[in-house]
């Protein structure tokens, strides 16, 4: 894989490889010395057209933990906010010798264009493009779900992650909120489905896109019914942007109070879930709107852990995109036949 742009079309093998690599990266992050020499001499550019301090810091940390040089190229106060085109910025990064470009952009497809327009030859990692995709968010969500809900009983006490190699078969995940505008929802629907989980989207009909019927998931307009009757193993709350409700005749729901009553996650709804179920949120949260403080801070909330896992997942993505030699990553099928068995070997050996 040369780029990581979308979870749609990501193979199950690749998804599990990403999660397994994330697990190994996470293991190194509990050490005193968290830094690995792996990407020494490589340059990672964080190209952010949209403010997201959290995501940028997560990628920056990941790159630095792998010893890569990190250049932060933010739209604010730079030429990109003065009308410099995406193309010219890409040519600049190319001239600077960027090995990987982590791009966050308000326009859907910007990462795809950077990767495929021929402007630069760096690996492109999509850190969120418009309403389209945010693949590392979905991977860290899947990683968090796997850690909590798969294979914990098999923990051998030696610190090995017993969920390594596993998928999410049979798990039920509810994704609740503004699906229409959410790249997090789009990324998760495809990735979780690929990993074998069942997904139900829960939202008012105004926040479900026309055309959703081709997505590999169910859609419900009722949160309580979904929680009670479907009993999800994980509930993922999506951020509701305040501007979406204040559009007068264009508002997507009548009032924040009504939204909160019908789709907000709180302690009462948490109590309906199975005991093992976890609560997730990609952040930043609107406490009191889509999630109550009691639910967000509950022991079954894994929201803080999601942030920590984000670094490990982004380390894994950077490692897998940047460590191989280009020729073999792009073309090699020569060792395909041995590859699957080797990773199996690896696991059974441990």
């Amino acid at each position: 894989m040369k780029h990581l742009l979308t979870t749609q079309g990501l193979s199950k093998d690749d998804a599990i490889l990403l999660l397994d690599t994330s697990a190994q990266m996470a293991a190194t992050q509990s050490r005193e010395n968290k830094k690995l020499p792996t990407l020494r001499g490589r340059t990672v550019v964080n190209l952010f057209y949209e403010d997201s301090t959290r995501t940028r810091i997560s990628f920056e940390t990941a790159a630095k933990r792998l010893s890569a040089d990190v250049i932060n190229f933010s739209a604010k106060g730079s030429s990109v906010s003065k009308g410099e085109s995406l193309k010219d910025t890409a040519l600049t990064l190319h001239a600077m010798g960027a090995d990987a470009v982590v791009v966050r952009h308000w326009a859907s497809g910007a990462a795809h264009q950077l990767a495929h327009a021929g402007w630069l030859d760096a690996a492109v990692l999509n850190a969120g493009d418009g309403m389209h995709q945010h693949p590392t968010q979905a991977l860290l969500d899947a990683f968090t779900i796997r850690r909590h809900l798969v294979g914990r009983v098999g923990d051998d006490g030696r610190g090995a992650d017993a969920s390594v190699g596993a998928d999410l078969a049979g798990l039920r995940i509810a994704i609740v909120g503004d699906v229409l505008h959410s790249r997090v929802a789009r990324s998760n629907v495809y990735l979780l489905h690929t990993l074998g989980a069942e997904v139900t989207l829960v939202a008012p009909p105004t926040l479900v896109p026309v055309g959703v019927e081709t997505w590999p998931c169910r859609v419900s307009y009722h949160l309580d019914e979904t929680l009670e009757q479907w009993q999800p193993d994980a509930v993922m709350m999506l951020r509701v942007q305040r501007e979406r409700m204040s559009g007068g005749s264009g508002a997507f729901f009548p009032s924040p109070m009504e939204y909160s009553r019908k789709f907000g996650f709180d302690a009462r709804r948490l109590a309906v879930l199975p005991d093992h179920a976890i609560v997730m949120h990609p952040g930043p949260m609107n406490r009191g709107l889509e999630i109550s403080a009691a639910a967000a801070d509950h022991p079954r909330s894994v929201i803080v852990e999601q942030v920590a896992n984000g670094v490990a997942v982004r380390m894994a993505a950077l490692y897998l995109l940047l460590s191989g030699d280009i020729a073999s990553t792009n073309s090699s099928t020569s060792s395909t036949s041995t590859s699957t068995s080797s990773s199996t070997d690896e696991r059974t050996a441990l």
Binding site: K35, L36, P37
Partner: protein, 244 residues
């Protein structure tokens, strides 16, 4: 994350196995047939001897930590741990694994490798400080894997001593590294391929096998600690690559 980028089946490191399409001599000129140089019993005897040498050299098994280097080093470490536990009842029988992938010096020259797990024996409480670490690998070749292992170890803590056990030392070192415990020194040419087969990884019986392409040259390299590589460096590159 190309499927083809995962680890190959039979070897993990340039130092552990050599597989090359060759135009250079093999030990059996004119023939490409694989040759078994160690059988199941030979391997068992070698491991038992190494276990005794470890205990002897370290005057017991106190503070001893066995770390196998994936893939086959892990099985060998497990077998050594069993033997050590028999020789020294005080020894826990535990062993660990040390993945060196992220410390390798050839990451950009190879297809992407899957990262393996590093797991320390549970009794250590996550530290190797002041321990006697014995790294275990199947084949010692260029020494680059061990270099990476030493760096990886450095990030885990500060052992009192680090030693190296290898089932086979086939020579052709590229770094100033030597093994403390060797099952068998095997004179090889660079072009030959040395494979360690272990029942619990590969199926079948345990064996160490040498194979090489037919050739009209009869030169044999008695490779050992001091043997000079017979091939020039550029070919070495090809050698390492084809070993994948």
């Amino acid at each position: 994350m190309h499927p083809g980028s995962r680890m190959p089946e039979s070897s993990t490191t340039p130092g552990s196995t050599s597989e090359t399409p060759s135009d250079t001599p093999s030990t059996a000129p004119g023939t490409a047939a694989a040759r078994t140089v160690l059988g199941e019993a030979d391997i068992a005897r070698a491991l038992t001897r190494i276990a005794h040498e470890i205990v002897e050299r370290n005057k017991g098994a106190a503070d001893l930590v066995l770390l196998g280097i994936p893939t086959r080093g892990v099985q060998l470490a497990e077998r050594l741990a069993e033997r050590l536990a028999q020789i020294e009842p005080a020894f826990s029988g535990e062993f660990g694994t040390l993945d060196v992938t992220m410390y390798r010096d050839d990451l950009r020259r190879q297809p992407t490798r899957a990262v393996g797990q590093t797991v320390l024996p549970g009794s250590l409480d996550g530290t190797i400080d002041d321990k006697v670490v014995v790294l275990v690998d199947d084949v010692l070749f260029s020494g680059r894997t061990i270099r990476a292992a030493l760096d990886a170890l450095n990030d885990l803590g500060r052992p009192r001593v680090v030693q190296l056990a290898a089932l086979v030392d086939r020579g052709h070192r590229e770094l100033p590294i030597r093994a403390d415990y060797v099952g068998k020194n095997l004179p090889t040419s660079r072009s030959e391929r040395v494979r360690v087969r272990l029942a619990d990884v590969d199926g079948g019986a345990d064996a160490v096998v040498i194979s090489g392409a037919p050739t009209d040259s009869a030169a044999t390299d008695f490779a050992g600690e001091n043997a000079a590589p017979e091939n020039a460096a550029p070919e070495n590159d090809a050698d390492e690559r084809s070993a994948r």
